[in-house]
Symmetry: C2
Subunit: 215 residues, 2 copies
């Protein structure tokens, strides 16, 4: 019974995701659904990415949070269009939330749209929102056992951004184990090792994005 | 429509949670539902807690993970009874999963039962499993904005264990902000500052547990 209900919700979601996808295509917008557990650094990554690219690419952001507008305010300070979704308890964004948020953002002026999902390493990976690509952030301090324990997000993502590498010397984390296990789940995964705090590794990520948009 | 479905699931869960609660009471077991985001250190905290208390208190553990048995193996190495639940995709434990797991654990020999939930700062807080108390772990490296962004778990928990305090000098995190905002959501919350890596602060937590069990 429960499974049937879940399937119906997923099917309804997929239909709306398809409509969002058509709209993005029509407007020439490349959309990245950015996911992670809580506090891995999604917003910090967006801030760094916008700082690096905003003179070359027109960027927009949809912020998803259970409550509050902290993240949208951080993005707004960079002078790019942003809209905040408050899910009011829901643990992930779905396609309908995105559809409604799109009314609040100037789609004609955007080439690259980031959708920052709710901080949750599980549920967001189950819901397409019409994105061209899913990307995920994993913080070093979450430990090297995460790929095998939370496989779906690693399987669904096109890029894995490993953040907080500056903390590596202060932990027992095995970076190579993260890489190996993530690739065992998804051999096509692009992996970036960065520190939003120090800026290390960020050019690899922003160059990758620039190349993606050029193709 | 969706809301109704969710409510029905929660009601059905609450009924089974109540049965679990009766069983725990009958057996004289104090049960703690231990929650956190991914990689905050729930299993490390259990390992440290068991090492400190197992000669004084008979402890049992129910491990919840989406997949795999890594955590149960870490607990098993300490020679306490443990059972692993694999939720196979589900983002939280529910009361029925616990009921089924209880058949696999020697309830007559246990005084303190830990239920380690799936690593998720959102969904587990919505589902009672029959516990006497919810406790949550927050890792310093998740940032000081978490209480206000993920309020429900802070509101539902009786204890907040702030872990990885050894990383504090290497971050920009404001510990006092975490404390202040967590207490603004739940003034009765007991807060412990620990490092499972160094052992700092752990006696405060284990003494607290000993006192809880004595009353």
């Amino acid at each position: 019974m429960k499974v049937k209900v879940v399937r119906r919700i997923l099917e309804a979601n997929e239909k709306i995701a398809e409509e969002n996808r058509r709209l993005f295509k029509e407007k020439g917008i490349f959309t990245i659904n950015l996911m992670s557990g809580p506090g891995a650094g999604k917003t910090s990554l967006l801030v760094r990415t916008i700082e690096a690219l905003k003179d070359k690419v027109s960027i927009g952001v949809v912020e998803g949070d259970i409550t509050g507008t902290d993240d949208a305010e951080r993005i707004n300070a960079l002078d790019v269009p942003v809209v905040q979704i408050n899910t009011e308890g829901a643990c992930h964004l779905d396609a309908n939330m995105i559809r409604e948020a799109l009314d609040e953002i100037p789609l004609n002026d955007i080439r690259l749209l980031f959708i920052e999902n709710v901080g949750n390493l599980v549920c967001p990976a189950e819901f397409n929102v019409g994105e061209d690509m899913k990307a995920m952030v994993l913080s070093i301090s979450e430990g090297d056992d995460k790929p095998l324990k939370y496989p779906l997000m690693f399987q669904e993502s096109g890029a894995l951004i490993i953040n907080k590498t500056d903390l590596l010397p202060h932990t027992d984390v095995d970076m190579e184990k993260i890489r190996r296990n993530a690739l065992s789940l998804n051999s096509g995964l692009k992996i970036f090792k960065i520190s939003c705090r120090t800026g290390a590794g960020l050019p690899d990520w922003t160059n990758y994005l620039t190349t993606l948009l050029a193709t």
